[in-house]
Structures are given as structure tokens and as C-alpha cells.
Amino acid sequence: MGAREDEYDYLFKVVLIGDSGVGKSNLLSRFTRNEFNLESKSTIGVEFATRSIEVDGKTIKAQIWDTAGQERYRAITSAYYRGAVGALLVYDIAKHLTYENVERWLRELRDHADQNIVIMLVGNKSDLRHLRSVPTDEAKLFAERNGLSFIETSALDSTNVETAFQNILTEIYRIVSQKQIRDPPEGDVIRPSNVEPIDVKPTVTADVRKQCCQ
């Protein structure tokens, strides 16, 4: 853990969703610990990890939540979507069914997450070129039609993992920081001393905190 782990300007909660076995946990470990485990284990329950990145000189701390892909686990994850400002919806480019189920996951988000949540469609396992069953163009088009950003990643060889998280966090940051300018804060505002107030409600919620002695 970094020495200044506790100092950040923005805290964004991002959830990883998608079918079982698409590589959600390895995306998380690649991004937060630069680790990939070939001998990965099925995730049971809910896990999460954090990592901070810089955008426009601001420190953004990402709190990334990961859960079991099996549908019944939605029962214990009611708190999972609460306060989430971003979602990585992951499928496996070599397993078409996991791509077909993307629509189901979008419905799940519509039902349980904030309506302004930023969603990125992620085709993982791009290293499995010879096994590809979901064409890049098809997924890209689907993403465009549904207003999602899109990227293909490989948690195994690291391709685009960093970019995927950077992009979604930057996108969230832009929305949140523009909102600050547009809407003067009122109501439920976290206002630590020494920092410009930021609206954390009602659409894109973001926990904002700044240490005074940096």
C-alpha cells in the first residue's frame, strides 16, 4: 500500500460485473496489484481492492468491487451497486454466450444501479486470438448503440487493462468535475475544510475528500 494511500481528491466506486469465468477477478488483480493468476479460483461472495491514479493532477482513488458471476449471488450484493459510479461489464471474447448475456447485465444495472452510472463494455481474454467468437466490430457497434464505451483487454498479457480503468475513471472524473461547475452545491454535500465543495448527489455520486496537510 502506498504511503499516501489515504490522501485523495476523489473516491469512485466501480463494480465489475459479467458472467462467471470471464476474468473479472484477474482484471482486478492486474489493475490493483499487477498480478495475474493462471491458477485462478472461483470468487465466492464479494471482494474488493483499491488503487489510486492521477487525472489532471488530481488523485482519484478507485474502489473496485468484484463478485461471483453466478446469478443467485445478486441476492447478497444489494449493497454492491449502491454508490457505484462506474461499471465494467466484462465478457469473454472466446465465449459467445458471455457476450449474449451482456443484455441481461445491462438490465441488472438499469434495475439496481444509479441511472447515470458510467458503463464500459469490456471484451476480455483478447490474447485468445485463435478462439475468438465475438468479433470486435460487432461488440463495438453494440456498445455504441447502447451508449457504452468499449475496449478489449487481456488480463493475462496486460493489454489495455490500465487503459480500460484509466478511461472509465477519467470519464467519471470529467462528469463529476463538470457537474461541480454546472450545479452549485446544495443539500447533501461533503465539504471538508480547504477544498472546493462538490455535489455528491443526486446523479453521479462520488465521495470527495481532501487532506488539509499535503
Binding site: S20, G45, F48, A68, Q70, I76
Partner: protein, 330 residues
């Protein structure tokens, strides 16, 4: 590895699990010096007990005491079968397992979801590759036997560990059935209703026994579902060190669900200071996910089980907390 070279212990444990890079050989050596003596003593005592009373279906106070001190490895599978009643259930329905394996058309969705988890079950166990086909049979048979549950992720770890201990598909099936239907019913079903209820009950127990710890955990905003879902779903399989899990399961098969709460509560109480020492949510999550499940406290299975039983916990209290949790909608 340096640690292993200077240690008398292999980097693979007796069940075939690779000991991780962080495994504390020094502590383990010290612990085993004492524990090996305990194991030998228990073995002799159990031999005597089994000679006098090979039946084991009636759990006398003496048998209960013996079980709490650990069932010797060679007797474990058979003792589990008898004390749980799984053996009796099997005798009442001797053809069930075989007939399930002979089903003509297995549900494809169920088979696929089990297949995804097979390579992801105990990849760190050097013998387990050879057991995967048998694990598939057990999980597939059970999923078709109990359609309300079907296949629930996590059962792969429970059935996998049962298979390691019993080395017998059919016994594993009957013990799995006993756990899922009698010990923790409705944990693994589609709505996971009782899991949610018991997570709420567990939180209430923490409030009652170690209120400062609960306050701290809630101040950090770490939900109990993140901390303890896997503990309850897997009954600590693939959470704690194997020997510790087996000692817990010895008692679970003899005494039932209450033991799961004892173990969970003991985790909080024995790690009280570690929990209170974490000052942000990430550190706290790491403590629960990494450190706490492999440190010296849980590796010393004998002391950990003693800690579980030094707790005051009555079935009445759990039952009334369960009622309240259900009334409150968890």
C-alpha cells in the same frame, strides 16, 4: 526456497495443498512439535473409543468431547458419515447416487456452470487434477437431485474438500447433501435467503460480544457480506488452513450450524486488535481477505478450536436472533 530448505516440512501439506510463499515454516514447526503429540494421544484414545462403541450414531457427551478435540485423519470420513446421519440416509436410499449418475439428459446450463469451476477448484492442490472428474460427478448428481439448489458456486469447494478427505464419490455426495440440506439449508438456494438472515444474525452477535469491533467495521463501511459471505457459504473451506477447516467440520457434523457461528465469532474475537488497528477500508478488507485467514492464530487449529468453545453461545440465542432477522427482513 530457503524457508523450505531449512525446514523439515515439505512445501506441500499432507492433503496435497501447496504451502504459499508466505507460509510461516518456523511458526508451523513450533506448533507441530506440540500438535503431533496431541495427535498421537488422540489417535490412541479414539482407537479405544471405536473398539467400545463402533456405532457412533448416538452422540454421548464423551463422544462430543472427543470430536471437539479432533477426529484422527484415518477415521474422519467414516466418523463423519456416522455422526451426521449421512450413513443412515445412504442406507435408506442405497441406489440414489448411482441412479443420479445414470440420468440420460443432464441439464446443459448446470453442467456448463460446474465445468467452468472445475479448473478453478483447488488449483493449488497437486493431487486434485486427478479428482476433477469425480468432483464433476458429485456436483452434477447433486444439482440434479436437488433442483431448488442446482449448482451454487462455493459447493465446488465443499464437495472438493469432502472428496479429498473421503476419497469416495458417494460418501462425498451424501455428506454434501447433509451440509446443504440439514446444516445450512437455504444458503445455496436461488434466493440465498438463510445466508442473508445468518449474516444479519452474525452482525448482531458481533454487536453483542465485541461491540467496539462492530463499530469499527461499520465506521470503515465494510459490509458484513464482504467479510463473511464466503465463510458461511463454504463453511470456511478455501478460507482457513485445511487442518483448521477439518477440525471445524468435525464439530459441524456432530453439533450442527451453531459451530459455523462459533468459528465466525472466534475469527472476530481472536483478531480483535488487528481489526481495530486497521484505519481504512482497504487495509481492513486486506486483513480479512489475506492476513487473518492464514496467520498463526488460525494455523494453530487446536487453539483456534479451543477459542471457539470458550465462547458463550446458546442455540436459543441464535434461534431468537434468526426470528428477529426474518421479521426485520434481514
Amino acid at each position: 526456497m530457503e524457508a523450505t530448505a531449512s525446514s523439515k516440512f515439505s512445501d506441500v501439506d499432507e492433503y496435497g495443498f501447496k504451502r504459499g510463499d508466505k507460509f510461516d515454516y518456523k511458526f508451523y514447526g513450533k506448533f507441530m512439535d506440540g500438535y503431533l503429540k496431541i495427535l498421537t494421544r488422540r489417535r490412541i484414545k479414539w482407537e479405544g473409543l471405536l473398539e467400545q462403541n463402533p456405532d457412533l450414531t448416538l452422540i454421548s457427551p464423551k463422544l462430543k468431547r472427543y470430536i471437539r478435540k479432533g477426529i484422527p485423519g484415518p477415521y474422519r470420513a467414516d466418523v463423519w458419515m456416522k455422526i451426521s446421519g449421512a450413513d443412515e440416509a445412504k442406507q435408506r436410499n442405497p441406489d440414489l447416487y448411482r441412479s443420479l449418475l445414470n440420468i440420460q439428459h443432464f441439464n446443459k446450463e448446470i453442467c456448463d456452470s460446474i465445468s467452468i469451476d472445475l479448473p478453478r477448484t483447488f488449483p493449488d492442490n497437486i493431487h486434485f487434477d486427478a479428482k476433477k472428474e469425480r468432483l464433476f460427478n458429485i456436483l452434477c448428481a447433486y444439482a440434479h437431485h436437488n433442483r431448488d439448489v442446482g449448482y451454487c458456486q462455493g459447493l465446488n469447494y465443499i464437495a472438493g474438500l469432502l472428496l479429498i478427505v473421503t476419497d469416495d464419490e458417494e460418501k462425498s455426495f451424501w455428506l454434501l447433501k447433509h451440509i446443504v440440506e440439514n446444516i445450512v439449508p437455504q444458503y445455496h438456494s436461488h434466493n440465498m435467503a438463510n445466508l442473508l438472515r445468518d449474516l444479519a444474525v452474525f452482525r448482531e452477535l458481533v454487536i453483542r460480544r465485541v461491540p467496539a469491533v462492530n463499530r469499527h467495521v461499520e465506521d470503515m463501511n465494510l459490509p458484513y457480506a464482504v467479510i463473511a459471505s464466503k465463510w458461511f457459504i463454504c463453511i470456511f473451506a478455501e478460507v482457513l488452513p485445511v487442518e483448521t477447516v477439518l477440525r471445524i467440520w468435525d464439530c459441524v457434523f456432530a453439533e450442527g450450524y451453531k459451530i459455523v457461528f462459533r468459528a465466525a465469532l472466534a475469527m472476530f474475537i481472536t483478531h480483535k486488535n488487528d481489526i481495530l488497528g486497521c484505519d481504512d477500508i482497504a487495509a481492513l478488507a486486506t486483513l480479512f481477505r489475506d492476513h487473518m485467514i492464514q496467520d498463526s492464530i488460525v494455523t494453530d487449529c487446536h487453539s483456534f478450536v479451543e477459542a471457539m468453545f470458550s465462547l458463550r453461545l446458546k442455540r436459543n440465542e441464535l434461534e431468537s436472533l434468526r426470528k428477529v432477522a426474518v421479521l426485520n427482513g434481514n
